[in-house]
């Protein structure tokens, strides 16, 4: 007897997608993240463009995390040409990046992920029972957007970010105007940590290899070397030596893995596992209050990791604003040169890696971009396989709900890499059930 249970759409992820879990009798034989995103060929049409166009073009890969793409391409060009933008311009870059983290994490925690834990179809229904909580989430999210808008001009595809710096830098007063609201947000983020920690987490752990940027002084966001909890440590220029990408038939997004080892995981869980001691004191306190920290291998608890990162982002944003002095020039002048340029920054969902080859006029000859979700794809499939294996006894609709949650643990930004997935169970029932 064959039986197929099909859930057509994986909702509440950015982009659309689905999964196939194939069962034979009581054995889970296969778990796949099916990706049919119509390819958009960014790397192909970047060839022939000016280096200075890369940030605005690559921003369009993802409307949820445009800053990540802009910053990775900018870092690539600047370091490739032999420049390092420092001081207040660097601080402003970190600030706008934290704006994106706050917005994206609040969106995922409150609107996409929390309804899973609490048994609601969506945030509007959640708001019906918990209006104050949802309003707090929306207000946090809006603050993240407002940081991006103040510095970047708008929150989606900001226009004020360029190779070399900015077109216009904010005055001290303009930034100060956000201080009170960020102070409120920091408190709201602490409450968020306490709130998400009360949720019920399925008992499930995986032996992950976490990969994140590491920086000697900072909880790495805009630069660093790459490191893993299993001993990897290499400069971003060596990414392709350590990481391979494969093209599988069921996905238009390439799947990344650590050479010779397999799946790895990027994003908030990876960052907290690798860089915990670099979080702000308040964020570390918040983590210890809810007994969360490095060593956590339960992917469902990524919602706590995100909340702790919001505390850190608010804390650091306030520190940046307090120390801000308006720079004399909004950007540095750059002269391009023939170079292979590498960039890698921490998008809300994990490392976003870029490589460009540029000629002496500054024309892009070659481009390669590895978004975070394509790096998590294999880990998502592994989680799914093991989770279903462990929870076969659950009623099918409950299992399906939890499988969706397994995917949402990664806050997959499918539009970056993939689109239109289908979640279905294919069960070949042997025997006489």
């Amino acid at each position: 007897m064959n039986k197929t249970i099909k859930l057509d759409y994986l909702a509440r992820v950015e982009g659309e997608g689905g999964l196939t879990v194939r069962l034979k009798g009581d054995e889970v034989v296969d778990a796949r993240l099916n990706i049919f995103e119509p390819p958009r060929f960014f790397e192909a049409f970047l060839r022939g463009r000016r280096f200075s166009e890369a940030p605005d073009i690559t921003a369009r890969i993802c409307g949820i995390c445009p800053i990540a793409y802009m910053m990775s391409s900018i870092q690539a060009m600047e370091t490739g040409f032999g420049y390092h933008v420092d001081g207040m311009l660097r601080e402003l870059r970190r600030l706008i990046y934290f704006g994106e983290w706050i917005e994206s994490h609040a969106l995922h925690i409150y609107m996409l992920h929390a309804p899973d834990f609490l048994g609601y179809q969506d945030v509007i229904k959640l708001a019906g029972d918990f209006p104050e909580i949802v309003e707090r989430g929306l207000k946090l999210k809006k603050l993240g957007n407002d940081i991006m808008t103040l510095i970047g001009g708008r929150e989606i595809h900001p226009i004020n970010i360029r190779v070399g710096g900015f077109y216009r830098v904010p005055t001290k007063n303009e930034l100060n105007s956000l201080s009170d609201r960020i102070k409120w947000a920091r408190e709201a983020a602490l409450e968020t940590v306490r709130w998400v920690a009360t949720m019920e987490f399925p008992d499930f752990e995986q032996d992950y290899e976490f990969v994140a940027l590491r920086h000697p002084e900072e909880y790495a966001v805009i630069e660093g070397d790459l490191a893993s909890n299993k001993g990897l440590s290499f400069p971003i220029s060596a990414f392709e030596e350590y990481i391979r990408e494969d093209h599988v038939k069921h996905s238009t997004s390439l799947q990344a893995s650590v050479r010779g080892r397999g799946a790895y995981c990027v994003g908030p869980m990876a960052r907290i596992n690798i860089n915990f001691e670099k979080l702000s004191a308040l964020a570390r306190e918040a983590a210890s209050e809810v007994k969360f920290g490095p060593g956590c291998l339960n992917p469902f608890k990524s919602i706590i990791a995100r909340a702790i990162e919001v505390v850190h982002a608010c804390d650091e944003s306030l520190r940046i604003i307090e120390g801000y002095q308006m720079p004399e020039m909004p950007s540095i002048d750059l002269t391009p040169r023939t170079a292979t340029c590498y960039g890698c920054t921490e998008a809300p969902r994990g490392i976003c890696w870029h490589r460009y080859r540029v000629d002496e006029d500054g024309t892009i000859l070659d481009a390669r971009i590895v978004p975070p979700t394509s790096q998590n794809q294999r880990a998502i499939e592994d989680d799914l396989l093991h989770f279903v294996r462990k929870n076969m006894a659950l009623p099918e609709d409950r299992l399906a709900w939890l499988c969706e949650q397994v995917v949402r643990n990664y806050d997959p930004c499918i539009s970056c890499s993939c689109h239109y997935l289908k979640l279905k169970f294919e069960r070949d029932l042997d025997g006489d059930i």
């Binding site: 119509p38 192909a44 093209h247």
Partner: protein, 259 residues
Amino acid sequence: MATKKRPKLAVWKFASCDGCQLSLLDCEDELLAVAREIEVAYFPEGFREVIKGPYDISLVEGSITTAHDAERIHKVRRMSKTVIAIGACATSGGIQALRNFKDVKEFARYVYPRPEYISTLSKSTPLSDHINVDYELRGCPISKVQLIETVSAFLNSRKPNVPSHSVCMECKRKGNICVMVAKGIPCLGPVTHAGCDALCPTYNRGCYACFGPKESPNTGSLSRWLGERSGMKDKDIMRSFRGINAYAEPFRKESEAHE
């Protein structure tokens, strides 16, 4: 809960970055109020539950780039009383329409190790090439204010108050000093549809036309200015028009004239 029947809204995605539909979730102050007036019947980015069509309003993000999507958009049309195309992808083919000037097979070979797994059309096209569209909202991304205005206009059977003049008008109204005249910064504002409130010039930057061409733009005249005043070479002028709205006809023609 309101007792009267609420109009049903659906949000669809084709080839895109998700940014325009995110604009809806970015209406943090309005979202809960909007949800009281409108039934969000289909919006997978934010809502798990699917309420069957037909729908009163469908907001459609993204361009048509696959045979499958070319069929799917007709289904969306059949299920929807009003179809509103949102954003540059849906109204002009978006940045992925840069393939339209090249060989897409070469693109597939370049990006994918196994191009035989990839199925795609040679061109990325706007919705209006495939179906009758009731309204087009421009921008990469769209403006939240215009989105709410447009939805509310359709629900109240009135014309949306969305100006169709150029970005230059917005600069004048804001009192911006013209970046092109005063500083020689190349700016596509004179030929670009309004809607961003002259964002780039306000930030000391030339407009890069993310809202696409305004009605009857004089692109040839602007190109002469870009060449003479800003010292741009033909290939730079070509690249300026060949951006986020490359396949919108006036921009396509102008870029081809400088190829």
